[in-house]
């Protein structure tokens, strides 16, 4: 097995250009090793990205926030700018696993693993993020987050394509966002259902709302009907917009055959209340 731990992006690019065969990238390994627990495993080419300091950075520039793929959940949750301007992202990161997982698990790893129950993709979709991807030829490009995750699950990343980070447009001063999830426990839990909501609130009226349901289908999705229910409504009356009912109907339509549907269609009503409370 070949193993590499590049420190600079140029070293990573050289590896991508010269190594043959499938390359497996790892970062915090909180999913990678957990999935291999007790099982024999082998990779032809294993590349740990953890030493790429450039991907640990988080910076605001020209109205957007750039988050390196190696930023940990704990690092993101503690960042003042994110807590104040992107509270949905801070809340989602704060709710990931245990302290040990948040110290080690990365936003890039979470998205690249594309678990239907992951907490990062729903919020990145809510915030209209773009993914920065490096390809085998050493070219960097931006890809809409919705194109990165495939409808049936998994990512659109090809062999030797690496997720470098995310660009998130920073909302203006009137932007609000919130995230909530339901799991078997209150903490250290994997989402059975998650909900992210954002809206601009100016002069007490909501506009530009976005609503994302996660862990309900193989891929988190935007709920246009939910956004429409909030747009134009007074923020003070957000609980009366029928969002919970709308989401309940969407769940009944989208996962009608699933055993979890009867639970989720009811649970989402309470989750909607919780998330609107935090908005």
């Amino acid at each position: 097995m070949n193993y590499a731990q590049p420190k600079e992006l140029c070293q990573l690019k050289e590896i991508l250009a010269t190594w043959e065969g499938p390359c497996r990238f790892v970062a915090g390994c909180t999913d990678f090793l957990a999935q291999r627990n007790g099982k024999p495993w082998r990779e032809e080419n294993l590349i740990s990205l953890t030493e790429l300091q450039a991907l640990r950075q988080l910076r605001a520039q020209e109205g957007a926030l750039y988050i390196g793929a190696l930023c940990t959940h704990g690092q993101i949750a503690a960042e003042d700018l994110i807590r104040s301007r992107l509270p949905a992202l801070a809340a989602a990161c704060e709710g990931v696993g245990s302290q040990q997982i948040r110290n080690r698990g990365t936003i890039g790893g979470s998205v690249a693993n594309a678990s239907p129950a992951g907490d990062m993709y729903p919020v990145l979709l809510l915030l209209d993020a773009q993914a920065m991807v490096l390809d085998a030829a050493g070219e960097e490009r931006f890809l809409g987050i919705e194109q990165l995750i495939l409808d049936k699950g998994g990512t659109a990343l090809q062999n030797k394509q690496v997720l470098l980070g995310f660009r998130i447009p920073l909302p203006g001063p009137y932007g609000k966002s919130a995230f909530g999830k339901l799991g078997e426990r209150r903490v250290v839990t994997i989402a059975k259902l998650s909900l992210a909501v954002s809206a601009h609130v100016q002069e007490g009226i909501m506009s530009g709302a976005r609503v994302v349901l996660g862990a309900a289908a193989p891929k988190a999705f935007l709920v246009e009907e939910g956004a429409q229910a909030l747009n134009g409504q007074p923020y003070a009356r957000r609980f009366s917009c029928g969002l919970g009912e709308i989401l309940s109907q969407i769940i009944q339509q989208r996962i009608s055959g699933r055993a979890s549907m009867p639970y989720k269609k009811e649970a989402v009503k309470g989750l909607a209340q919780d998330v609107l409370e935090k908005l």
Binding site: C29, N103, R104
Partner: protein, 158 residues
């Protein structure tokens, strides 16, 4: 792969496969058996150690990834033969029953106290929420961590 890292304050060098898990490197190669393997998938916290002063699961770290970094295990907590305030507080508060979770619990608490010497009960609960004690002695564990925090604060004032 040649690994060079700081283990419990001492610089060490050893040869190990990079894909080996840190828990196996510690227990099998370095004979540091304080960190325990429970679930092997980051659920129970019994393998918790500090990596660059942050609590992590030793079962979810590749040996290669510690090259150039600092690892602290329960064996590295006490100084000059004396127990660390956390270890003393766990004993005095009877925060140990079977003891299997204890090294991980203490290292998770150490990770918290390195950042926050005066944590609230909620912050303590949050810091150890990934550490399972099946003897269910959480009340004593929380008391022990609170008491250790006091001892650390006192130490810091001296």
């Amino acid at each position: 792969m040649k690994l060079r890292f700081i283990l419990n304050g001492q610089a060490i060098e050893l040869e190990a496969p990079p894909e080996k898990r840190l828990i196996d490197l510690l227990r099998e190669d370095l004979h540091l058996t304080g960190a325990k393997e429970g679930c092997g998938e980051g659920e129970c916290g019994s393998c918790t150690v500090l990596l660059d002063d942050a609590a992590v699961h030793a079962c979810l770290v590749l040996a290669g990834q510690i090259d150039g970094h600092s690892v602290t295990t329960i064996e590295g907590l006490g100084k000059d033969g004396d127990l660390d305030p956390l270890q003393t507080a766990f004993i005095e508060n009877m925060a140990i029953q079977c003891g299997y979770c204890t090294p991980g619990m203490i290292m998770a608490a150490r990770g918290l106290l390195l950042k926050n010497l005066d944590p609230s009960e909620a912050e303590i609960r949050n810091a150890i929420s990934g550490n399972i004690c099946r003897c269910a002695g959480y009340t004593q564990i929380i008391q022990a961590i609170q008491e250790a925090a006091k001892a650390y604060r006192k130490e810091a004032q001296l």
